[in-house]
Amino acid sequence: MTHSRQDLLEWAEAGRIAPENLRPALEVGGVLPDRAEWRAFLDRLLLWLGVVMLCASAVFFLAYNWQDLGRFAKFAMAEALVLAALAVIGWQGVERIAGKAALLAAALFTGALLALIGQTYQTGADTYELFAAWAAAILPWALFARFPALWVLWLALVNLAVVLYFQAFRGVLGILFGPERQLWLLFGMNTLALAAWEGLAQAGLAWLRERWAARLLATASGALATALAVIDIFSKDDIGVGGPVWLAWLAAAYAVYRHRIKDVYVLAGGVLSAVVVVAALLGRLMSDTRAEAGVFLLIGLVVIGMSAAGGFWLKNVASEEVES
């Protein structure tokens, strides 16, 4: 649809389609939604907006910690929400869109229920334990539901648990668990998740072939690799592993997304990452130079040259992709 759209608009811009014929042409090309697509859109909009608002409502309600309502009433409410969502899944089935929405709601309500337990009984548990327990609780659903959004939620919870874990122990074990260790763990986890996602999708799990989720993971993994390389460049130690690991990440991303899966989005991220790391490296190498202004100009020109060359290359790869 998107490519037809671009072609039709370009033809109209070049005068090959008369202005008054553009809309009918877009309709013939299937770019504009027909009645059935409008109906499906409204159906999904109302469903997802309704479910998201209900989930947000439950979270807001429990966060308010209303004293006039007894704890048993609150537990009954939170449990009823989970049960209601599960009942909808039982009724609609997890393959239908309403079932999927209910499953996501059940997963979010489960988190609200766990938060309520922590709030009510003051168990002394740290916040990271809430997110870890939440991730553990919804793991079976994620394993069986074949629903990418639920896996993305699960991965977000695990990431949050790791970040909060390091926040909780920063004061006690600051030296052992410094910010770099946290970044390494997050990088390892997200890269592993990305590799597993792409590998399983390639192995035949069609429901994992939704590019938005893989791209989200690739963005997280690439951003963390870039951050580690930049930290390494500016660290006082001469040799670190951040740079080599970043290089390996870049090479692997090129091999996979240029030749096996062909995803220009990840390649574009790789180009941006290379621009950032090279700018940081040049800045570090020339930090002792007296001609500061010249260094800034040089780095600026290198950034512009690299990104322009990257943009040219990506444009060509993208047009290849379209033709393939």
Binding site: S4, R5, Q6, D7, L8, L9, E10, W11, A12, E13, A14, G15, I17, A18, N21, L22, R23, A25, V28, G29, V31, L32, P33, R35, A36, R39, L42, D43, L45, L46, L49, G50, V52, M53, L54, A56, S57, A58, F60, F61, A63, Y64, Y265, A268, V271, L272, V275, A293, F296, L297, G300, V303, I304, S307, A308, G311, K315, A318, S319, V322
Partner: protein, 359 residues
């Protein structure tokens, strides 16, 4: 799309009597939206280094507002000439972008010095500057940037004048205009789309940031209190909802669906419902408007921005201080249930043709 697909599409258009002659070839390779985003970010990184070069190497430039403005304007003029002289060069395009961004920063620095006494005047001057650059510099990424920042500067001026309650409605109205005109003026398509994406970004930012966060931000910059108190805030929220209803009415007219028709009534009822929700949660109207217009124009990037705006607004709504969490929870629960009931009604009165066939 392959060359064969393109030929097939052209043949279908010819059969429908919409085009004549042979199919045109592909003029040049196209960059997907994320490559343009990457180029924009890299352009900014390059611009920061160029600015540092000017700041360190030519300190006299940043010591005087007049000199900074003249140098900035000169750099922007140079960039504009570069874009016009060599429009197809990737390197010159990126160099021109970074140069112009650095020039804009210098001019904004000067404007802030000149209009330091009035933030509204400074914001309006920046909006005017960006509008001029939008017209004069013929580059898509540059135009998205100037449209975005120009619109946001205007929103700032509105907010600083105490009218921030009307900001989401105003910027969403501005965003809708180029997208409704997109198919009516195909020769100016690229210009309209650049304006449309920039205004969409400003609308997302305004919708998500609306409320307490916005007030805190403005207060930090010496902004004004809201004019007219609670009554004007309510009017602003009403305007957000009305913009959504207007958008749906325009779309119904464009699609040739009368208000007397069942489908038209269903769409208008849905818009009315969301407008009502916007009275208490004013970011919902603009976010849904972006999503709906993106879908109506077959533009996935725009629709995706609308979804992000909705999720972003709901996250921000948690921190909005105009109501307690209990009140917000009640509003969301009511709204959620009504929307699900509306979906039930939709499926009853406008059944899915496929489901009917299977029944």
């Amino acid at each position: 799309m392959t060359a064969t697909d393109r030929q097939t599409l052209w043949a279908r258009l010819r059969d429908a009597g919409l085009v004549e002659g042979e199919a045109p070839g592909v003029a040049e390779s196209r960059s997907p939206w994320f490559v343009r985003v990457m180029l924009g970010i890299a352009g900014w990184i390059g611009a920061l280094f160029l600015l540092a070069f000017v700041g360190v190497g030519f300190t006299f430039v940043v010591k005087s507002a007049s000199v900074a403005f003249v140098v900035g304007a000169g750099i922007c003029a140079g960039a504009a000439l570069m874009f016009r002289a060599i429009p197809r060069s990737d390197f010159m395009g990126q160099f021109g972008l970074a140069l112009s961004l650095a020039g804009q920063a210098l001019m904004i620095f000067a404007l802030m010095q000149w209009f330091g006494h009035s933030f509204t005047a400074a914001a309006l001057a920046i909006a005017l500057q960006q509008a001029l650059l939008f017209v004069l510099v013929p580059n898509f990424i540059h135009r998205v940037w100037t449209s975005w920042t120009g619109a946001y500067a205007a929103v700032y001026a509105l907010g600083n004048a105490g009218l921030h309650a009307f900001a989401p409605a105003a910027v969403t109205f501005g965003f809708l205009w180029p997208w409704f005109a997109e198919f009516d003026h195909p020769r100016r398509g690229e210009l309209l789309r650049a304006a449309g994406y920039g205004l969409a970004l400003a609308a997302v930012q305004t919708a998500v940031m609306h409320g307490t966060l916005w007030t805190v931000w403005l207060a930090g910059l010496g902004g004004s209190e809201a004019l007219g108190g609670e009554a004007l805030l309510r009017l602003g929220n009403l305007a957000s909802g009305l913009v959504l209803i207007w958008a749906v009415l325009r779309l119904l007219k464009r699609e040739g669906v009368g208000l007397g028709a069942g489908h038209g009534r269903i769409a208008l009822a849905g818009a009315g419902l969301l407008a009502l929700i916007s009275l208490e949660a004013p970011g919902v109207g603009p976010a849904v408007a972006i999503l709906v217009v993106g879908f109506a124009n077959g533009n996935r990037v725009l629709a995706g921005l609308g979804i992000l705006a909705l999720l972003g607004y709901l996250s921000h709504y948690y921190y909005a201080l105009h109501a307690t969490l209990l009140e917000k929870s009640a509003l969301l629960a009511g709204a959620g249930l009504v929307l699900l009931a509306a979906r039930f009604a939709l499926r009853r009165w406008w059944p899915n043709a496929k489901e009917l066939r299977h029944a």
